[in-house]
Symmetry: C2
Subunit: 349 residues, 2 copies
Amino acid sequence: MQNDTFLRALRREPTDYTPVWLMRQAGRYLPEYTRTRARAGSFMTLAQTPDLATEVTLQPLERYPLDAAILFSDILTVPDAMGLGLSFAEGEGPRFERTLRDDAAVASLDVPDMEKLRYVFDAVSSIKRALAGRVPLIGFAGSPFTLACYMIEGGGSEDYATVRTMAAARPDLLARIVDVNARAVAAYLREQIAAGADAVMIFDTWGGMLTAAAYRRYSLASMRAVLGALAADTATRAVPTIVFTKGGGGWLDEIAACGAAGVGLDWTVDLAQARARVGARVALQGNLDPLVLLTDPETVAREAIAVVEAAGPAPGHIFNLGHGIVPRTPPDNVAALVEAVHRASRRAR
Amino acid sequence: MQNDTFLRALRREPTDYTPVWLMRQAGRYLPEYTRTRARAGSFMTLAQTPDLATEVTLQPLERYPLDAAILFSDILTVPDAMGLGLSFAEGEGPRFERTLRDDAAVASLDVPDMEKLRYVFDAVSSIKRALAGRVPLIGFAGSPFTLACYMIEGGGSEDYATVRTMAAARPDLLARIVDVNARAVAAYLREQIAAGADAVMIFDTWGGMLTAAAYRRYSLASMRAVLGALAADTATRAVPTIVFTKGGGGWLDEIAACGAAGVGLDWTVDLAQARARVGARVALQGNLDPLVLLTDPETVAREAIAVVEAAGPAPGHIFNLGHGIVPRTPPDNVAALVEAVHRASRRAR
């Protein structure tokens, strides 16, 4: 590996500077992405064609000296492989043909045959070859609970009312869904690692809207099950893991004890306080407000440096946003961000 | 006062049972509210006509043995009185004719003449007379920052991008807006207290989407300024205050030190942990997930009792939801909630 700064920071080893990568770094804010996406015709074709997924995964690395690549894919590949029928209508979010709301639908749910997700593992292998050891490749999956949200609602939702009422009124149903999802996510990440992923991240986008008790039971416990399965397997235990619960700042102590090497923080978390709370237990990843990237290069640099300073001198900080890059981000602001993080952190060492 | 349980709990004095009121307890889930609203013709007419505001404020108290009434009004009355031109289009959220996005607009902002808000204070007086000492009346205002969100965006927003970018790129503009708002909110609450409000609450609906640093600077500091103004005035200092930052669970220690008698908690906060963290410093108000009210009376009772138990035996818990009642709530579930809280907490004493 020519640049393993990201992996060393994730293991809380000293590094010459703070490594940086950005959630959704391959995406719509890049004109070259939009062109590839148009050529593909649909988002699903882009995600399901290893050559195209490789092309867009590498695009941000051609522009910026980022310290990691992340597989271009979608968290909903897993429930799609479970037979729920995923589609992305133009200008709308994801939709499933079938939802999981009653006993019969939930009873028939099972871990999918990983061969149905071969296109993802082929993309991982293809990206690894294209990277040729420049930087590590991060694989990822949605958290068992976040996948359950889409599977139950049949798509995105403003308040996930069906999920939240199910958590209170039918805990048995929700428990079974996240249990199946946890086994599916563990198998999915295992195959991504077998195909070459150097680290894996679990995105828990919606755990933060649960009550604390429901978060523990349905989201955190199922992520712990995934991490436990990876840790118990000699083929995967050496690969570092990151968990990210958006809105999970209030539960940081418990999240930091879940078994992951790193914990992602959204932009509402005080990074200095977070480091003081978790000590040297885990690496911390984050946490610039992604909307700062809508301002100007000077503001971006100033705010990014404030995050580097909040992280402090202890090893184990990976710079990132507190959520994904928004599509209307000017690409020049991303350049200013990466440059400021590298420069300021190098100087502080 | 025939029933001062709410006020005693807010002062952390022992009570025979846990008092309960519900955010948006006067609202669209009640058929009698919908009828009055239809008679009024518009939401603004309803809020601006003291007789009608009195009628809807008392409706939930006729149905349920609630321990407090809350003024029927809207947080946006204040920026409306500042001349921003508030309207509510049917089926949409609030809209302002004018927004605050540049130096000139912000420079011209000033604390409004409180006579423009006389209809609110008249409603407070009218409700007090109608209550005739049955239960306390809660007055309220939006937090200076939450008001700023609507004033800057011109209405509600999915991500408040203009506000969040202003916080990073033009901190001087945002600081001036929240400063004017803090003086306006202090004057507004002072007049509500003069008209008879027995307690006042500050609703900080959007502070939780800020970075920790921006929350301290723009939301928490301005709420502290409001509370400080009320505490410095002999006419208002005896009236207890509550602050509620939705999504503020991660900053609980700082919020609990802001000078309010009580702190509202959204449903994501672990109430037992919150009590352990703040000790006897403040009363805690909350925090059932409002969507639990969409289930059935048995589930509602079970989940409500879990909140009562999480609050523990120490004085100073006011039962509430973690956010407002949603319109499709079945009224019978609210009856089950109030009954369960009163019964379980009485038994636990």
